[in-house]
């Protein structure tokens, strides 16, 4: 088997006394979709921030395509092919949708005309083209989530970190987003996704990694994971003894 | 030169006392309302002139009027605060910046009003305390402490203690601190953010106005005096860490001591250069003030 595209080696991240991520290891193979799940506050977003360079791990390392990227700044990681979205969508509110995506396109297309052309293409893919010229602040939540994906995609990444891009959408919109993710996978992208909507993540993930209290409590295919008693307990709370 | 050191330290501390009174309420206002009030010097100036005229009309010692001036300017601050609140809670543009520019406009306007109303001459407020000084020679120290400056330091200590008491020991103070730390949670505790903000701003304007009287007794007053004190208020508050009240006395004393030591032991014309260089260096090393506790 080829070298995994991403390897997370015993990553620990502490904030003061709080250990948000505790000795987590897993890897992602090229072309797969790995779901990262766990109850609220389990440390998923923190782990995302470590992988995407926002936090340096307190311990452990992150290896991307064979290179140690732990502690490298996010803009460097964007350059080597890691795109990410944010859980709390924060578009550049004062700018239009097209401008938002164009900014990301500059990474691979330094000329403005090229970047804009590329941004249009991305918007076509994500279905936002008809809203290209509206202010990003004027988008609906679904639109903003799609804009998040568009921005990440405009980087032409080889690896995508998606943080709750479905949560909060109605079923129709959710289905469209799932469709989009599957399309991206078909194009060869590797994806690590955090999602709360189980329906979605169970369907699209090749493998799941489950976190609780910052620790990895399970890993495996969706069916393996869903029958794991630890996981069920993590989600529904402990049965009172 | 070493025999000057006790006097240098005394002068520095007394000067620091003045800076405390300029900065402490200003810092409180920043902590609670998150506004940098460019008009701080103008409040001081207005207070100074009010004291000056009250003294002129009644012939009574200006220190007797401090409560009157406080109440008067508390009212002024209380009335103005909602406007500032409105600017700061705006959703358009950059509210922080707008707050800054708004008070900047106020400061310009106040200066114009003062020049019109009070004229352009420098003046001084006479007080019984202006006479006399204490000599520490009996203690073997060649140190002179001017009474009026000692009163100033006493005022600074009193204001600091009163604010400390108000903030730490009263229910109102608890509400103010809660508001400064977490606005929504404070609301959930029943703190009326608008009214509390008005009280705080009123207290700040009132204290600044009283400080003006003091400065008029120690130094001089004039319609354009505000700017200079605004500078020192900024300096102290930033050095202390913005909104970090406990840091203010230390920052103010440091400023006073730096000025005093520099004037005596180095080239006095470099005093301000040194002061700004220190501010700059401290911001580099610890961007949130001396104690790293600014907000």
């Amino acid at each position: 088997m080829a070298e995994p595209i991403l390897k997370v080696n015993s990553v620990t991240k502490c904030f003061g006394g709080l250990t948000a991520v505790d000795d987590v290891s897993f890897s992602v193979e090229k072309g797969e979709i790995v779901g990262l799940i766990g109850p609220n506050g389990a440390g998923k977003t923190t782990l995302f921030n470590v992988i995407s360079g926002y936090y340096a791990p307190t311990k452990g390392s992150v290896i991307f395509q064979g290179n140690d990227i732990s502690g490298k700044p996010p803009y460097h990681l964007a350059g080597v092919g890691i795109g990410r979205t944010f859980q709390v969508v924060k578009p550049f509110a004062g700018l239009t949708v097209l401008e938002n995506v164009t900014i990301a396109s500059f990474l691979k297309h330094p000329k403005k005309a090229d970047a804009e052309r590329h941004a249009w293409q991305v918007l076509e893919t994500t279905g936002l083209a008809d809203r290209a010229n509206v202010s990003a602040a004027g988008l609906t939540l679904a639109g903003r989530k799609r804009l998040e994906i568009s921005k990440a995609l405009a980087l032409d990444p080889s690896f995508l970190l998606l943080d709750e891009v479905v949560a909060g959408l109605n079923p129709t919109e959710a289905d469209r987003t799932v469709e989009l993710i599957m399309k991206l996978k078909a194009q060869g992208l590797t994806i690590l996704i955090v999602e709360h909507i189980m329906r979605v993540i169970m369907n699209i993930s090749d493998r799941l990694v489950v976190l609780n209290f910052g620790k990895k409590i399970a890993e495996g295919t969706p069916s393996e994971v869903s029958s794991d008693p630890h996981v069920v307990q993590a989600y529904f709370g402990e049965e009172a003894a | 030169m070493m025999e000057l050191l006790p006097q240098a330290l005394t002068d520095g501390i007394l000067l620091g006392g003045i800076y405390i009174t300029i900065a402490i309420a200003f810092s409180l206002t920043y902590g609670v309302m998150h506004v940098i009030d460019f008009a701080v010097g103008e409040w001081i100036m207005f207070g100074a002139f009010t004291g000056y005229y009250l003294n002129k009309w009644t012939g009574l010692d200006p220190f007797l009027f401090l409560p009157v001036i406080f109440v008067l300017y508390f009212g002024v601050g209380y009335v103005i605060q909602p406007v500032i609140h409105r600017v700061l809670s705006g959703t358009k543009g950059n509210p922080f910046l707008m707050g800054l520019v708004f008070t900047f406009g106020l400061a310009i306007m106040f200066r114009g009003l003062a020049l019109t109303a009070f004229g352009f001459y420098s003046n001084s407020i006479p007080s019984a305390f202006s006479e006399g000084s204490f000599n520490l020679e009996p203690l073997g120290l060649t140190v002179t402490i001017p009474t009026v400056r000692l009163v100033g330091l006493g005022y600074a200590v009193a204001i600091t203690l009163i604010l400390h008491y108000l903030l730490k020991k009263t229910n109102f103070g608890l509400g103010v601190r809660a508001l400064a730390q977490h606005k929504d949670a404070a609301g959930l505790m029943g703190v009326n953010s608008k009214r509390t903000g008005s009280y705080v701003y009123g207290i700040y304007v009132g204290i600044s106005a009283m400080t003006g009287v003091l400065l008029g007794c120690i130094l001089s007053i004039g319609a354009q005096m505000g700017n200079e004190y605004t500078i020192f208020a900024f300096f102290v508050v930033v050095l202390a860490g913005m909104g970090y009240l406990a840091g203010v006395p230390w920052a103010a004393l440091l400023l006073g001591l730096v000025q005093s030591i520099f004037m005596i032991y180095f080239n006095p014309s470099h005093t301000l250069l040194a002061v700004f260089a220190i501010l700059y260096i401290i911001l580099l090393i610890s961007p949130r003030g001396l104690f790293g506790k600014g907000v």
């Binding site: 803009y75 964007a78 900014i103 679904a142 903003r144 | -």
Partner: protein
């Protein structure tokens, strides 16, 4: 629309170019020269304040450094004006570089006050060293040709405007800066290096300011620490930019024209009411902040667009990012 805008700009430009040929009032030329200078200063200030979101209260320092550089080079090194002028810009740019390394790490009020302290320190430095003439200031050789300075200022500011317009509105750079302004953290994920971009914008703001300072020095023939290194330039620039509308080039230009015109008319024809000027200016600033927080241009452009942009209600952030709530759900199609 774009064509019409370009046409109007071209007409204004042409009118400004022809003006001295048909009008010989040197006072009006002088006023226009200064007005144009303020446009340049305001738009240069807006690069860092409006586009990048960092309020520089020490902008005047760049102006003064430019002025002093030209003064010193011309009077003490006997350099010709044309050789000295670019060096004024370079000196301001280098100052921005040195000043920016530490200050650009600071946010909001701290940045504003740190830059302001820095400009004060520079002013004190100029007061205390020999080669600036200290408090006496410095006199430059008088070359009082109104047409020369008018054209010099017009062309310089024209070039500054065009360059900034190209960089900020046409080239990727402006968009990148806006991304930093809107969300510095988020911008990192898109491959932008905020530190580098902020520094570039700081230098881009300083450089033209230094050049304008240099022209000013040669034009006015006398500079001293209080007039070139004081708060005047920063204060005026703030007022003009906020009044006109931040984050655009036309807004600050409009603000500069209006504020400067108001000031000049008041000054020229209502001198007896000079103190009233302060009161009116102060009130104007305060009132415009309350009623047109987006500035004149921002308000005008929006009204034209016919739709007001709904402002995003800031989501209350809870402490560690790991615990933050998800955005509110929304309407289905």
């Amino acid at each position: 629309m774009k064509n019409r805008g370009a046409t109007i700009l071209a007409i204004i430009g042409a009118a400004l170019l022809i003006l001295p040929l048909v009008m010989h009032d040197t006072f009006v030329l002088r006023v226009l020269t200064e007005g144009i200078m303020w446009i340049g200063l305001a738009i240069a200030f807006d690069v860092i304040a409006g586009y990048t979101g960092y309020l520089n209260f020490g902008h005047g320092a760049f102006f003064g450094i430019g002025a002093y550089t030209i003064g010193i080079l011309m009077m003490q090194a006997n350099l010709p004006f044309w050789a000295a002028l670019p060096l004024g810009g370079v000196a301001a740019g280098i100052t921005a570089l040195i000043a920016g390394i530490p200050t650009l790490r600071l946010k909001g009020a701290y940045f504003a006050i740190a830059t302001w302290a820095l400009s004060r320190a520079i002013q004190q430095l100029a007061l205390n060293v020999e080669f600036t003439g200290g408090p006496d200031g410095m006199r430059l050789e008088a070359f009082l040709n109104p047409q020369f300075f008018y054209y010099l200022m017009l062309i310089t500011v024209g070039v500054i405007f065009a360059t900034l317009w190209y960089l900020l509105e046409r080239a990727p750079f402006g968009l990148k800066l806006k991304a930093i302004r809107e969300d510095e953290e988020g911008a990192k994920a898109l491959g932008l290096n905020p530190t580098k971009l902020k520094m570039q914008s700081f230098i881009l703001s300083a450089l033209p300011t230094g050049i304008l300072g240099g022209i000013y020095a040669y034009w006015i023939t006398f500079i001293d620490p209080s007039s070139t290194l004081g708060d005047l330039v920063s204060d005026q620039a703030v007022v003009m930019v906020v009044f006109g509308g931040m984050g655009t080039l036309f807004g600050p230009a409009l603000g500069a024209i209006l504020i400067f015109a108001f000031k000049t008319l008041f000054w020229a024809y209502l001198s007896d009411f000079q103190l009233l000027y302060l009161i009116i200016l102060g009130a104007l600033i305060a009132i415009s902040v309350i009623f047109i927080p987006n500035g004149l241009w921002g308000t005008m452009v929006k009204r034209k667009a016919g739709a007001t942009r709904p402002e995003q209600k800031a989501e209350p952030a809870s402490e560690p990012a790991a615990l933050s709530a998800v955005a509110a759900p929304e309407e289905g199609n």
